[in-house]
Structures are given as structure tokens and as C-alpha cells.
Symmetry: C2
Subunit: 234 residues, 2 copies
């Protein structure tokens, strides 16, 4: 799967969370496309952008939540690039069947985004315009990845964020344990090849092997349960 | 009441609906502020904009609905002008108590903006970010004025739009018949002063007088009903 991460942030270098995400980018399969760097004059190249979009399976908008939406340049990108005849219209959208998701960085705690919270509305409510956009373009909408108050995250929470980010960019959109296992196994196998000590390599191989054994047991159990249900129902 | 109409449209001269609204602007009490004309280079002057906002009771964003939101320059305006300490923050917002509203021009029929319609979501759902903004700034949110498919409007529908637009900018936010009457009377009185023929002036005076008589009768009726209710309840 190929993922395009369209990042919009007017002062990227000053953002700790954006730097962390940049450093967490998977080595393969994901392209980082920071609009303010590519278009410092704000003049977006429609043709180049449209051709680029066609090469990806998953398209992500990643930005700080400014006034409950993106910075202006990403909005400009939407208005320039997602034209009638390309992104929607009487003919089939050229983006049809792709996946679309948001990665939103919040300055306040996500808890405030609810009725009774300081912000009053949920992230799902406030991002309706993106949901409507994905819908019009025939793209399937992924659950949003929210990063809230990065500065206060503990080291272990940051490690969780790193995993969540990499999964958001490269894991099949499927909440099953099996898909998560497959994704982890793939990551562990990649690690195994990249110059670890022999001891660490053995550890990684053991982890992979353990996960595979667990999976086989779970599959057996599921099969047995299936048989029992079948005999009871029959 | 003083109203600031912040207009965002990257090609205003080509827009029939925006020209119509410009020509429909009330003679007094409303200021037209077209961002793309004032800031062709996109460099918004925070200080000037903030000072300007303080002089108005009602603040309107008027724009074509591009990807379920405003053109980029209005988003830029929000991010530059509505700063912490001015528009929100631990101290009282400088905008607190003002009224805020949207005038949104749609290219498709408003009917499509509902579950099951082509756009899938209502205008109220899609404009949540503005509702959250008004809420954070302590401004009261007016019902949105939607102008849909201006090109197809009949002459009489355009006249209705003209009245609706002028009321949106200058009428007290109150759905009562009495407030509407007061607004019309004020408009008619202004007309009376502006060089009509004697015959037309008499007509206008008669209309105003008729409306005042109607109002007196309605007030009497309301008073009588109130007395009856009181005696029955007592």
C-alpha cells in the first residue's frame, strides 16, 4: 500500500509534534508532502498534484487544528486540486476507491471536544466538511488519528503514538487482532534484517514465532467454536 | 446597529450572486470588507483587522461554499486575526456579546444538503467549525442565510433575497412579527425621505400608518387574551 501524507503547517520547524511524526514516518510506503515547503509562494500546481494523487492508495491530511479546521494552504490545495471532472462530477471520480484520513494535532486535551467540554463539539462533528469531501470523491473515510497535547506525553505514550502513526499510514483498515498481528509481524521481520546483534535477532525471531503459535491456537479455537455453533444450530 | 460583512471570494467580479449582494447592501449601518481586494498579496494586517472588529455589533462571513467551507483567505484571516488574548483566552474575549453569522452561496440546490441528498450533510452540520468559533469567542450565532443557485432565481425570488439580505445585516435577531414590522417601517420611512413623487410619498405614509393600526389592534387583542387567561387561571 502506498500512502501520501499531505502535511500543512505554516511553521513546521517550530512544531515538536510534527517533527516527531516526521521522524516516525515508515521507511517505505509513505510519502511526506509538506505543502508550505513545496509552495512557499502559495501557488499550487494543480496538474502535478493531481498526477501525484493517482499514484497512492491512501491519502492523509495531517495538520494542527486551527479554528477547528486546517491551515489556509491546505484549504487552497483542496480548492485548486480537487476539481470537477477529476475529483467528482458526472463521470466516476479519479479518486474513487482510495482511502482518506485525517491526522489532527490538538493544543488542548481531546476530552474538551464534547458537549459540556470547553470546545463544545466532538472531532467527528467538527470534521464534517472532510467527511463530505471524501464522500463526494468516492473515497472511504478512515477514523481520525487525534494527537492531543503532544508536549505532555510521557515516553511510553510517545512510543504508542509512533506505533499508532505508522499503523495509520501502513496498516490495512481493519480493527481485527489478526490484521494488527500481521502488521506487527511484518515490522518485526523488517527489524530482523536490519543489522541487529545475533541475540536481538533471536529475540525478534522468538517473538514472531510466539505470535504465530498464538495465532494458530486462536484459529483452532475459532474453528472448534464454529463447529459447536454449527452442530447446535443444526 | 453596525454590521461588518467580511466577504471572501477569489473572483468576485465573476460572481453574479456576490454582485447582487453588493448592490443590495443597505445604504447605512453595514460595511463591505472584501478580503481578496484588500489583501491581494494575502498578507493580512492583524492590528487593523482587530481594531475594525471592535467597532461592529454584528460580524458576518459571506462566501461561496467551497469544499463545505470558505475560500482559503478567510481561513487565513481567522488564523491571523482571532488570536488568543483578543478573541479568546483566560480574560474575557474582546468579541464577547457580538453577533456572528454566515451568508453562504451554494452552487447546488439546498435540498441536496441532507441525509439522502447528494451532499449528505446539512448546512448546520457542515458549519460546525464556525459555530465552535463563535462559541469560543463569546459571540452569539445567528441562523445562516443560505443563497442557493442564484442563477435560477426568478425576479420575485431575487426581490425576496434582497429583503432577506438587508434584514440579515440590519434587523434585530428576533423572529417576531413585531420586529419585522418595525424593520419594514424604518425602511419605508427612509424611502419616504429620498425624493419620491408626492403621490408615492403619500402611498408610503399610508402603508406605515396601516401597519401601525394593525399593530395596535394586535396589541389590544394580545392584552385582552392575556386578561382572559389571567381571570381563568385566577
Amino acid at each position: 500500500m502506498q500512502t501520501l501524507v499531505i502535511v500543512s503547517h505554516p511553521a513546521l520547524a517550530d512544531s515538536n509534534v510534527q517533527r516527531f511524526l516526521w521522524e516516525s514516518l515508515p521507511a517505505e510506503g509513505a510519502t511526506w508532502h509538506h505543502l508550505e515547503s513545496v509552495y512557499p509562494d502559495g501557488q499550487i500546481d494543480r496538474e502535478t498534484e493531481q498526477q501525484q494523487l493517482l499514484q497512492y492508495d491512501r491519502i492523509i491530511f495531517q495538520f494542527p487544528f486551527y479554528w477547528y479546521s486546517s491551515p489556509a494552504l491546505l484549504k487552497q490545495w483542496q480548492d485548486v486540486v480537487l476539481t470537477e471532472g477529476f475529483a467528482y462530477g458526472p463521470d466516476r471520480s479519479r479518486l474513487s476507491g482510495k482511502e482518506f484520513g485525517l491526522i489532527v494535532a490538538l493544543g488542548v486535551n481531546e476530552r474538551e471536544y464534547q458537549a459540556g467540554g470547553k470546545e463544545g463539539f466532538t472531532i467527528s462533528e467538527l470534521t464534517r466538511p472532510y467527511q463530505a469531501m471524501a464522500r463526494k470523491c468516492g473515497m472511504s473515510y478512515l477514523p481520525t488519528l487525534v494527537v492531543s497535547q503532544f508536549g505532555y506525553l510521557s515516553d511510553s505514550k510517545r512510543k504508542e503514538l509512533l506505533i499508532a502513526y505508522q499503523q495509520y499510514l501502513s496498516k490495512e483498515n481493519d480493527a481485527s487482532l489478526k490484521t494488527a498481528e500481521n502488521w506487527f509481524r511484518l515490522q518485526l521481520q523488517k527489524v530482523g534484517k536490519s543489522g541487529l546483534s545475533e541475540e536481538d535477532q533471536r529475540l525478534v525471531e522468538q517473538l514472531v514465532s510466539l505470535m504465530e503459535d498464538n495465532r494458530e491456537q486462536l484459529d483452532d479455537l475459532a474453528w472448534t467454536l464454529g463447529q459447536m455453533d454449527g452442530s447446535q444450530l443444526g
